[in-house]
């Protein structure tokens, strides 16, 4: 039977949430400053303003992050597969990937903004630019890690390249691709926050920074929590997809 979400995972999540709240509450009681409000005040504030003030920002951010990751997967995974399967592709492209991977792409934000403007395009390009490398490298390595014997029995059956792709490469590396997507997600949320502080009036990044400027710390914390929750939900979504598609593991 496929367990979509194991019970331990939910219990673990609730348990960690409880610990965070306890420490937060303690910090609020010790510091006694408006910059550290009590968690309850923040939760009550979320309930009060979510529908009226936060919702629209969540939708914008969610849209950007999903689009960014989807584009990164659509370009990165096929590229990684080609590099993993065809030795010559790997020899040409790997140095390029390795050379550009450590460049801090966030530093290119001014360049991207000058070239593509302050709007949506440059935000998406930043997310894709930063996330895609992890996805390319891990899909390439996943294909390379498939043992030769696995291909052998299919080749002896006279399988075509497409059949080898469908029967071996895709299922064998799907798990790795999802894992790297999950890792990339954390980075993507940070980039999203950063890019949303410029040139937009929508998005969680904008909402948090705007609340900060207005010295409305309750709203700011509400924004931080909603942004975290958003990341957590996408994280769980990938988990569920992995459990459904890779139940053989």
């Amino acid at each position: 039977m496929i367990k979509v979400l194991p019970k331990e995972k939910w219990q673990g999540a609730l348990y960690s949430l409880a610990i965070v709240i306890v420490f937060w509450q303690l910090a609020a009681m010790i510091v006694k400053l408006p910059i550290v409000p009590s968690p309850w005040a923040v939760f009550i504030n979320i309930i009060a303003i979510f529908a009226s003030k936060i919702q629209i920002h969540v939708l914008y951010s969610l849209g950007r992050i999903m689009e960014g990751i989807a584009i990164a997967i659509l370009i990165g995974v096929p590229l990684g597969f080609l590099m993993g399967y065809f030795y010559r592709m790997d020899r040409i492209l790997s140095p390029l990937v390795y050379f550009t991977y450590p460049v801090p792409k966030i530093a290119l934000l001014p360049v991207v903004m000058l070239l593509f403007g302050l709007g949506e395009a440059s935000k998406l390009i930043m997310i894709v630019l930063i996330v895609i490398f992890q996805i390319i490298i891990s899909s390439r390595d996943a294909v390379k890690a498939i043992p030769d014997e696995t291909f052998r029995s299919l080749k002896s059956l006279g399988a075509s390249k497409i059949q080898i792709f469908n029967e071996i490469i895709l299922p064998a590396s799907l798990g790795e691709v999802l894992t790297s997507t999950r890792l990339a997600l954390g980075t993507a949320v940070s980039i999203l926050f950063f890019t949303e502080t410029f040139g937009t009036e929508y998005g969680m990044g904008y909402f948090i920074m705007d609340s900060w400027m207005r010295v409305n710390y309750l709203d700011m914390y509400a924004g931080i929590i909603i942004l975290s929750l958003m990341g957590f939900c996408i994280f769980m979504l990938i988990d569920i997809i992995e459990n459904l598609l890779c139940s053989w593991r």
């Binding site: 059956l157 006279g158 029967e167």
Partner: protein
């Protein structure tokens, strides 16, 4: 019939050329089972790679029914020591894989149902390979090979990773099914006992580079209670002598 004439295979390792098979010639008649025995590194697996169409860079001529080896047009069943199952496919999908690749569908017909039943895996269809014992995995691999209805069946030490009891059980089961369908079979082994039990003919190979030392008719093939008989003992001694002389 499988005809191998002057087959030579060279491997390149660093700058040296290593000869794995040296002017190797043999005819294997249709519907027969040959066991190949020899020391490790004698090129047994190389021979199998040539026959299965994986290795294409060789000298000499190798034909199945007068046609050059091409896994796309011929049906070649391959059973490996590590079973060669795909871990993301369940027993049913693994067993039907050969059919799926060759026929484009994986529906079970009476024949495949019968094979699955004979191998005793018809109750494990939804399991994944990691949930099976080694013996069960090898049963799936055997089922896959037979369901394919191969022109040529290649077996590379298929039972050597199994414990002694499971091994003898599977050897017997394999032989029973084989007798019903008489698929032309090349069986590679390093066990003299296995060579005697499963081979109608036994081919003894020399240490590297692989050459044929001798091709023996096996009087022990198809005898009941083989392992308790004098013929078995005599033949086993004879084989041991040839192998050790190299």
């Amino acid at each position: 019939m499988i005809a191998i004439k002057d087959l030579s295979v060279k491997y390149r390792s660093n700058d040296n050329e290593i000869l794995a098979l040296d002017r190797f010639s043999i005819h294997i008649s249709k519907g027969d089972i040959y066991t190949f025995i020899g020391p490790s590194g004698c090129g047994k697996s190389t021979l199998l790679h040539v026959l299965s169409g994986i290795l294409k860079d060789y000298g000499g001529v190798v034909t199945i029914e007068d046609r050059e080896i091409d896994p796309r047009t011929q049906r070649i069943g391959l059973i490996l020591q590590n079973y060669g199952l795909l871990p993301w496919k369940n027993v049913y999908q693994n067993a039907m894989l050969g059919r799926k690749i060759k026929n484009g569908n994986q529906d079970t017909d009476e024949y495949s149902k019968f094979i699955l039943k004979q191998l005793g895996i018809d109750g494990l269809m939804d399991r994944y390979p990691r949930e099976l014992s080694g013996g069960q995995q090898q049963r799936v691999a055997i089922a896959r090979a037979f369901i394919l209805k191969p022109d040529l069946l290649l077996m590379d030490e298929p039972f050597s990773a199994l414990d002694a009891i499971t091994r003898e059980e599977l050897q017997e089961l394999f032989l029973n099914i084989w007798k019903q369908y008489s698929v032309t079979t090349v069986f590679i082994t390093h066990s003299i006992d296995e060579a005697l039990y499963l081979g109608r003919k036994i081919v003894v190979l020399s240490p590297s580079p692989g050459r044929i030392l001798e091709i023996l008719d096996n009087p022990c093939f198809n005898l009941d209670n083989l392992r308790f008989r004098d013929e078995y003992y005599a033949m086993s001694m004879k084989l041991r002598k040839i192998v050790s002389k190299g």
